[in-house]
Amino acid sequence: MTTLLSVKNISVTLGNRKILDNVSLDMHAGDLKVLIGPSGAGKSTLLQCINHLITPDEGEIHLEGKKINTQSNAELCHLRQNVGMIFQDFNLFDHLTALDNICLALVKVRKLSKDEAQKRARKELDRVGLSNRAGLYPAQLSGGQKQRVAIARALAMQPKILLLDEPTSALDPELVGEVMNVIQDLAKGGMPMIMATHQMDFVRSLATEVLFMEHGTIIEQDTPKVLLADGAKTRTLDFCSKLNNLKGCEL
């Protein structure tokens, strides 16, 4: 199996606090890794380090076996074009319509013509079920719709891997479903993903691996079957059942 992406010994220090401490992981085709852990564990930092939105103090990123030279802007842009990112708070460009949000990078980065870009953008909007919202601005969309546009925007770039940073945690409960459905379809279609989430039914049914993070390191790493088995003495199960008690019904 070829390695799509590998993260090697990433560390991030803020002041004298280690946000990430020597974290490594490998992504292969068909992988769907899920990051779980308490807030402040470093999940978001790890995801943002992978495409260098945060520059790690130590460590390397390899894309398809080739080390990314992080000093070179061209290589950084190349990395980011191939690794899609979905943010917790959507980060749609507030001054552009849903359609133009998707087209912008297609025209500027992928150098498509305007027509091609619009065609592809419409296809992606259709895939997330929002073809009738193409002309609306972010302020006119619901949270769930914004996140679906953000997913369409990332997919239009045809990334090899998708990073998702708690894509549903800023949403009202009744809007979580529409976004999770889109992500589920993607997962079933074989898109490799690394996702921070606490949507446990998704984790159980689709994740190929669960990474439990705490204090900037991965402390448990295995399939959901193992980590979340009834009676397993794992930190993961302990944490998830606490979540379960709080939320009531998700586990």
Binding site: Q48, N51, L53, N73, C77, H78, L79, R80, Q81, G84, M85, F87, D89, F90, N91, L92, F93, D94, H95, L104, A105, K108, V109, L136, Y137, P138, A139, Q140, A150, R153, A154, M157
Partner: protein, 229 residues
């Protein structure tokens, strides 16, 4: 009172005030264009400059904003010729124009700075995550957003500039207010003439407001301020 002496207005007052209006426009238009560009430059430097550039620009703006424009104009016109080593002589027009450019630029830079600072970090991160270069992000994300956020404030500043252009009178540059003053000293009819001159300013200010609102409406995007009715 011969308030209805129409010939007095059409033959003596209005032609002179029209001349004054042209002079005022010769101040307002260059000052708003050059001052506006200067303000953008200062605003950008105050956000993205190095520590020292920021400090210098901030101080400059604080001084200009803290001291009455009257004094700035007096310094430029009456004060500069008395500099110890290089004596600078400015014509009244030059003194007024330079004063207005500095003043409006300093105030404009506040709005530009505010608009730039209000752009959320996430917008920039989203651009990076899509593989856009720094230049592409500045050009396609930051500038269009900051521009829209700065329009109302910057437009207001132009309206202030229209009104403060009357201060050119203080450094003896004869524009609208100056012409009115001269007319009054010749005809001794202050109320009518100053009221009429006031109408000229009201016309300019109202026209500018109207153009500005039309521009804001044309550029309106949901989520960026409110469309004015």
């Amino acid at each position: 009172m011969e308030l209805l002496d129409l010939a007095f207005y059409t033959e003596r007052v209005i032609p002179k005030l029209n001349e004054g209006l042209i002079e005022s426009l010769w101040l307002i238009i260059p000052a708003s264009l050059i001052g506006g560009s200067f303000g953008v430059l200062m605003g950008v430097l105050r956000v993205f400059g190095t520590k020292w550039i920021k400090k210098i620009a901030d101080t400059f703006v604080a001084v200009i904003r803290g001291v009455p424009l009257t004094i700035q104009l007096m310094i430029l016109y009456f004060g500069l010729p008395y500099l110890p080593f290089v004596k600078i002589f400015l014509t009244p027009y030059q003194a007024a124009l330079i004063g207005f450019i500095f003043c409006t630029g300093a105030y404009q830079s506040e709005y530009i700075r505010g608009a730039l600072l209000s752009i959320k970090q996430g917008q920039i991160k989203a651009g990076q995550a899509l593989g856009m270069t720094k230049l592409q992000i500045i050009w396609s994300v930051i500038i269009p957003q900051a521009f829209r956020k700065a329009i109302p404030g910057c437009g207001n500043e132009i309206i202030y500039l229209i009104k403060y252009s009357s201060l050119a009178y203080i450094v003896t540059h004869i524009e609208l207010t100056g012409e009115a003053k001269i007319l009054v000293s010749r005809t001794f009819r202050p109320t009518e003439i100053y009221l009429l001159a006031g109408c000229y300013y009201l016309f300019l200010v109202t026209l500018a407001t109207w153009i500005l609102h039309a521009l804001e409406r044309k550029l309106y995007i949901p989520g960026f301020g409110k469309a004015n009715s």
